[in-house]
């Protein structure tokens, strides 16, 4: 009796060790893949530390780093970073508030015009940004929304709302209707079913969509340029252009700004990724 238990324990331990070696191997491979993927980012950091602002005479490692670019970026761009953060986070909120219910409706309700709605949303994605920017400028000018945080937030959300609706819908289509039926039987209305059941299960999808909404808004340049006419409101993407003149450019400051401005966003990314856990859906089906 005891011998059988010991053998089982031994093979379980062996499997455990095999799994952890495989895990560690995965980590190494993962780091290698990341290094390849992120080499251009490293190169950007390298450029930002070059005194000449370019990599013409640069080696692989910046042995004599020059921080002039960083000094300038820190001096000029602090406020812009805050602006970008506020606008981006605002965009995420607007996007999710508008897109999540719509995605849920398009996924779960049975409407005959769903295909038309999806087509409209896809067409919205196809429009070149500059066409939207020109139209928005005229409208914002009349409504007095130029140079306003609210205006920028609403405009930047346009990058992500159609996208979020489509993506969230795809995720929510995997939601088993039996769960919702069970809720309906218990007397819950559509809002309750959405809020208390669908949203928690679709957590992964919401975080992923929110992540992209943030990134789209963060890297927006077109609306930042078009919808501001003074220097009061300058997202960091616009701030970078103050180093790129018509004839003379200060590339080390540009790269330094890009590096510095990624830092707060990296923190947000790390925090968000932690929440995309496995099996959020799987548990519910049982």
């Amino acid at each position: 009796m005891t011998t059988a238990l010991i053998t089982v324990d031994q093979s379980a331990a062996r499997r455990q060790r095999a799994r952890s070696t495989r895990s560690r191997l995965s980590t190494v491979v993962g780091i290698a893949l990341l290094a390849i993927m992120l080499f251009p980012v490293y190169w950007m950091v390298n450029t930002s530390l070059q005194p000449s602002g370019n990599t013409l005479n640069a080696g692989l490692i910046p042995w004599n780093p020059s921080f002039a670019g960083y000094e300038q970026a820190l001096a000029d761009q602090g406020g812009n970073l805050l602006t970008s953060l506020i606008v981006s986070i605002g965009s995420v909120v607007v996007c999710l508030v508008i897109a999540a219910p719509a995605a849920y409706a398009l996924a779960q309700f049975r409407y005959r015009w769903i295909s038309v709605a999806l087509l409209v949303i896809l067409i919205a994605q196809m429009i070149p940004g500059i066409v939207i920017a020109n139209a928005l400028y005229a409208a914002y000018n009349d409504l007095g929304l130029l140079n306003s945080v609210v205006g920028l937030i609403l405009a930047d959300a346009s990058h992500s709302i159609p996208f979020a609706i489509l993506v969230l819908r795809a995720f929510m289509m995997g939601l088993h209707p039996s769960i919702l039926e069970a809720a309906r039987v218990d007397g819950a209305g559509p809002v309750r079913a959405f809020w208390s059941i669908a949203l928690p299960i679709a957590k992964n999808a919401l975080i992923t969509a929110g992540l992209f909404a943030f990134l789209f808004a963060w890297s927006d340049f077109l609306f930042a340029l078009t919808l501001t006419t003074t220097e009061d409101l300058r997202p960091v993407t616009l701030g970078i252009y103050s180093y790129l003149g018509t004839q003379v450019s200060n590339w080390s400051a540009v790269m330094a700004t890009a590096v510095l401005s990624s830092l707060p966003a990296i923190v947000l990314l790390l925090v968000a990724q932690r929440y995309i856990a496995a099996g959020a859906m799987g548990g519910a089906v049982k």
Partner: protein, 302 residues
């Protein structure tokens, strides 16, 4: 009897209203922010819209003339060919690599969360910075890529200065730009596939490739098709990457319909023809959109 029926009917109607409210904010937003631009762009395609129009507001109707000008321009067919090559090449690269990475990251291992978050780093950089960096990396004389190739005994490749290679270079950079998007979405989709399905299958002896083919792919269908259709729509529109790397050159080797639309409007100041080009691009995207909707409807019926 009648009171019970009418109160139920009232409840149902109220429920319909509540259900409609789910989509109303989105509908209003889309109509306000996208409705006018779409209509304006379609109309511009039929007008003689120049810099003068911006000031005077006059844009004489020219019917299909702009479209004829666009389609008969010398660069139209080369740009169309490049657009298709660019889109198909980018999508295959981004999707396959993205799927591979998503599957790789599916199993938790030490640092996997951190690595996954870092994969999104390229998206944090403004495109102007990424294209400038890639331009430096791909420089024929002093770029680090050619130096690396030289170190292993290969010739320097004129990545951005030879009409034969430039399109490939631009596709490779676009693949790099698109990988984070694909990985993150596909990974999210993979996470939603219940582990039990894999466990049950492994009991029947289906692991690795078989499990991927029979479990992962079917369950991932909705996310995959969204990723693909959005990938097509976004890639068709790509401007900044190509403009930043080659400006449409060398010798128009990397001209695409999107670039034609931009340059015709903002470099040649012929906005009507530019709008015609971008409408042609929208029609192209529509084809793919309709394919997506058809496959989507089939899935729902299943």
């Amino acid at each position: 009897m009648t009171t019970v029926l009418s109160s139920r009917r009232r409840r149902l109607r109220r429920e319909d209203v509540i259900k409609a409210l789910f989509v109303v904010p989105a509908a209003i937003y889309i109509l306000l922010f996208f409705g006018y631009p779409v209509v304006k762009n379609i109309l511009m395609g039929f007008q003689d819209y120049t810099t003068k129009t911006f000031f005077t507001g006059e844009a004489p109707w020219v019917g299909l003339q702009n479209y004829v000008t666009a389609v008969t321009s010398g660069l139209f067919w080369p740009a169309m060919a490049n657009t298709l090559l660019f889109t198909i090449g980018s999508l295959i690269g981004q999707f396959v690599i993205g799927m591979g990475l998503a599957v790789f990251f599916r199993r938790q291992f030490p640092l996997s969360g951190f690595l996954r978050a870092m994969l999104l780093l390229p998206w944090l950089l403004p495109l102007i910075v990424s294209s400038a960096t890639w331009r430096a990396i791909l420089d024929k004389d002093s770029g680090i890529l050619n130096q690396a190739l030289g170190a292993i005994g290969l010739d320097a490749v004129p990545w951005l200065t030879s009409p034969d290679v430039a399109l490939i270079a631009v596709i490779l950079v676009n693949i790099w730009v698109g990988i984070p998007f694909n990985v993150t979405l596909l990974y999210g989709g993979l996470q939603d596939i219940p582990e039990e399905l894999y466990e049950a299958a492994s009991l029947d002896g289906a692991t690795g490739w078989k499990a991927f083919w029979h479990i992962t792919l079917p369950n991932l269908r909705p996310v995959m098709s969204v990723v693909l259709v959005l990938g097509v729509v976004y890639t068709l529109k790509v401007l900044d990457v190509i403009l930043g790397l080659t400006g449409g050159g060398p010798a128009n080797a990397t001209q695409t319909i999107a670039i034609r639309a931009y340059q015709t409007s903002f470099v040649d100041f012929e906005f009507g023809v530019g709008a015609a080009f971008s409408n042609i691009l929208i029609l192209l995207s529509l084809v793919f959109a309709l394919i997506y909707l058809r496959s989507n409807r089939k899935a729902v019926d299943e």
